[in-house]
């Protein structure tokens, strides 16, 4: 609990302490945000190269040869280069975008303010976790520049492909080592962050901020941190084992009797490739919730704010978040229905998977319930939150096919899966980030973003992502396997190329319209109109402090919370919102 002594902290002097090795959770949040922004552009660039290659597998592009003199000699991408772009695209998007921005970016900035704290519980740990993440990114990108290039085993890095070394393909030498090393470093950073988030939420809530008065964003950051703590610990262990198999000759994942291109691997025996899959997905499934939960929190917050209505079923939302967190650790096997694991266990995993669908459905119902009877204000932030709901539904329903082992017999590792996860964890989560950006930008930078540009960007992106990712479901139904660099060798894939062409154009289009966002972001940073303290007439604590907030958030004052987080349109109240810190008398007595 916060100490009773009122003491204002002073910002440290000097550029380095203030903006580089800063201990201020707000600066660190912004650092994470820009790390994610940088990463998302790399990831997007890689995906465009992939999309180009898939529909033009033999066309020579001069500058490709300049970028990759060996892997794209003559300007035509080799299959191994395609796969390494795919690996890096997936890895960068999942780890350095989806895991960092919603949680470490917005969470870092907003969690302490929303619960009325001066900073995170462990500021030094916070700084270390950012710089460790940064190091991980540097190591990851370095994988492009070593002999053989980046690894080609996908973001899931299944052994033996990822374990047996250079013989399984270019990129499986030094590139794969760096990949594993980077992931291990990233795990360390995420563990530090998780401990900090949990301690902060448990210990630093201000007077009156009971758990059930926390904004739903704080609940999602808390549960995400718990998922990260348990999940990244396991991934770290798995990564170390994989590195040992590669470098120290151990056999955790390599069985006896293997032979790779005429060479017998005599010195390995007793390992199991499935062990990796269990460890990886024990982390990997919670990871998809790490990516999406904060987006759900932001969406809930925004739907309530901009429909001027209390969230529908706050308690049900909290229980849904908690049960997603809990069940999230019990369903990893649904990624392994076809892996050769015991087929009876598939029934258990399928049942649990359908169970975890229920809280997700509850959230959707409650979002619609929140909008019902509201007075919806269509700000850009709100549009992205509404878009999130639409994408979440579209991405969620395809999971009902994939969660049934019987149907996964066909869909596993087809484009149906690629469509599903891009919709729900890729694009929905990204919409959560856009929503958060438009909503909190005024608080973070003291300036407003441009709404017109924002809306144009929203509509074009919304239509664009539907055009890129929904056709993937049809491709899956037609049996198109994923992770194919070209569709030249399987006859029936030839007929599907027009669909791929359409998706490629949609991807160019969607990528191009992101420039509108970039322009809006940087223009508003410098030239946007000054933001008031509470531009959205919202209720939570960040809207009680100046935009941007002072160094210790509340200028030495300890806020006291008297109300729940979503008291909008209380009958008889003076205005249509009651801030959490308003005096108890703000609610008319008959209520």
């Amino acid at each position: 609990m916060s100490s009773p002594v009122v003491h204002a902290h002073h910002a440290p002097e000097g550029f380095i302490r203030r903006y580089v090795f800063s201990l201020d959770h707000k600066v660190i949040g912004i650092q994470y945000y820009f790390l994610g922004l940088f990463s998302v552009f790399i990831g997007m660039f890689l995906s465009l190269l992939m999309r180009y290659h898939m529909v033009n597998p033999t066309v020579s592009v001069a500058w490709m040869a300049k970028l990759w003199p060996t892997a794209a000699a003559g300007g035509v991408m080799t299959p191994e280069l395609y796969l390494s772009l795919m690996t890096m695209h997936g890895t960068i998007m999942v780890f350095f975008v989806l895991t960092t921005v919603p949680q470490s970016g917005f969470g870092n900035y907003m969690l302490p303010i929303q619960i009325g704290a001066e900073d995170m519980a462990f500021p030094v740990l916070n700084m270390m976790s950012f710089w460790t993440t940064f190091l991980a990114l540097v190591v990851m990108i370095a994988a492009f520049f070593v002999e053989g290039g980046a690894p080609l085993s996908g973001w899931t890095a299944y052994p033996p492909l990822s374990a047996a070394g250079r013989v399984t393909g270019p990129g499986e030498g030094m590139g794969q080592n760096l990949w594993i090393l980077s992931i291990a470093i990233f795990c360390g950073a995420s563990l530090m962050g998780a401990i900090n988030f949990i301690s902060t939420t448990v210990d630093l809530r201000c007077k009156g901020m009971t758990l059930m008065r926390m904004p739903l964003t704080c609940w999602t950051w808390l549960v995400t941190a718990i998922l990260g703590l348990l999940g990244f610990a396991v991934l770290l262990a798995a990564g170390v084992l994989l590195l040992l198999d590669r470098l120290a000759g151990s056999s955790f994942f390599l069985p006896a009797g293997m032979m790779i291109s005429d060479r017998i691997l005599a010195d390995h025996k007793g390992g199991s490739p499935l062990l990796w899959q269990h460890l990886f997905w024990f982390f990997g499934h919670p990871e998809v919730y790490i990516a999406i939960l904060p987006g759900m929190g932001v969406t809930s917050q925004l739907l309530s704010t901009f429909s001027r209505k209390p969230i529908f079923g706050y308690k049900a939302m909290v229980y849904a978040i908690l049960s997603i967190g809990f069940l999230g650790f019990l369903v990893w096997g649904h990624h392994m229905f076809m892996s050769g694991m015991n087929p009876y266990s598939a029934m258990a995993f399928a049942t649990l998977t359908m169970c975890i669908g229920v809280p997700s459905a509850i959230k959707t119902f409650n979002w619609l319930g929140t909008l019902w009877g509201g007075k919806i204000h269509f700000t850009t932030a709100m549009l992205f939150a509404l878009g999130f709901v639409s994408l979440f539904v579209t991405g969620g329903v395809s999971g009902i096919f994939l969660g049934q082992p019987a149907l996964d017999l066909y869909f596993h590792d087809t484009y149906f899966v690629v469509g599903h996860f891009h919709m729900i964890m890729g694009v929905a989560a990204i919409f959560g980030m856009f929503a958060g950006t438009f909503y909190w930008f005024p608080k973070m930078y003291g300036r407003m973003m441009n709404e017109t540009l924002g809306k144009i960007h929203f509509y074009l992106t919304f239509i664009g992502v539907y055009c890129i990712f929904t056709p993937m479901h049809y491709l899956g139904i037609a049996g198109n396997p994923r992770r194919y660099s070209a569709f030249t060798d399987v006859e029936y894939l030839g007929g599907l190329i027009p669909v791929h062409q359409f998706m490629t154009y949609a991807a160019y289009f969607t990528a191009a319209v992101q420039l509108i966002f970039v322009v809006n972001l940087f223009w508003s940073l410098m030239k946007g109109p000054k933001a008031p303290v509470n531009p959205w007439n919202a209720t939570t604590l960040e809207w009680t402090v100046p935009s941007p907030p002072p160094f210790d958030n509340f200028a030495g004052v300890h806020p006291v919370v008297n109300h729940g987080p979503y008291e909008y349109s209380v009958p008889g109240a003076a205005s249509d919102f009651i801030m959490q810190t308003d005096p108890p008398s703000a609610v008319p007595s008959e209520h």
């Binding site: 080799t78 492909l161 069985p255 049900a316 919806i376 329903v397 009902i400 596993h412 509509y459 349109s569």
Partner: protein
């Protein structure tokens, strides 16, 4: 506001191709495939209804509850009866789908192959397929990794000294007789691959160090493609073979011909 028609249009557009079936499954060639398609259609109906209702409801509330500047929003914190209702309804719906699919999964994975199923060994490696038949003696001969020689046509490492291997047939594509139960025993030499035949509605990873069986019966003569469906390296997209379903007589003739060539 504009969002509502956009959401509706996208919903209709996405749903259209599920009705039109422009890009779709090829027809199934076995009983399992027919049952599979039925389960898929059941799920599609349930999912389709949820999808269309949810998207239309979203568009509806966007139009109906847009801010008109008059009065305040309704003040409510929710409704426990509704929460209980929709929680139990979705739970029931989702779980019954899994239960309905159980028989299909069981048919592939819990039921043993019939005793008269024809055993065929499958060997997957970067980036090709090999299939081995026991030949007239019904016995698979001894194999040894040290004898493997791909260029000499011995990917399995068949041991010539074992009389049982004399009549083993090795083929780069899969041939099966129509209407007979088949048992594939699948092995990989290097990394994980995946055996997938669309028309069989079946897929199975092939994992080094584990022999994984699957069994099926194909009821339709024809040639079907087998694309590797688990990332196995740079040649993954080229790791393709075919499964030819032949009449019983043609299958016997093919075996004779293969033996004659040995």
């Amino acid at each position: 506001m504009l969002l509502a028609p956009v959401v509706w249009a996208l919903t209709v557009g996405v749903a259209y191709f599920f009705f039109a079936k422009t890009w779709w499954f090829p027809p199934p060639i076995n009983q399992h495939g027919v049952a599979y398609d039925a389960q898929f259609m059941r799920t599609l109906v349930v999912v389709g209804v949820i999808f269309i209702l949810a998207q239309f409801a979203l568009g509806y509330v966007i139009v109906r509850f847009r801010n008109d500047g008059r009065g305040r929003a309704q003040y409510t914190h929710g409704n426990n009866r509704l929460e209980t209702l929709w929680t139990s309804a979705t739970a029931l719906l989702f779980l019954s789908l899994v239960v309905m699919g159980t028989k299909i999964w069981a048919g592939v994975h819990f039921d043993e192959a019939p005793p008269d199923a024809i055993p065929i060994e499958v060997l997957a490696k970067q980036f090709s397929w090999s299939f081995r038949y026991a030949g007239p003696d019904g016995k698979f001969g001894h194999i040894d990794l040290k004898l493997v020689n791909d260029s000499a046509g011995n990917p399995f490492g068949l041991d010539d000294k074992d009389p049982a291997s004399k009549d083993d047939i090795v083929s780069a594509s899969l041939k099966v007789p129509v209407g007979k139960p088949i048992l594939l025993r699948m092995n990989s030499r290097d990394v994980i691959h995946n055996f997938f035949v669309r028309e069989l509605r079946m897929k199975q990873d092939i994992v080094p160090g584990m022999e994984i069986p699957i069994h099926f019966q194909a009821d339709q003569i024809g040639i079907y493609e087998v694309p590797c469906s688990e990332l196995c390296g740079l040649g993954h997209f080229q790791m393709r073979t075919t499964m030819q379903v032949m009449s019983v007589a043609d299958f016997a003739a093919w075996q004779q011909q293969m033996l004659a060539q040995k």
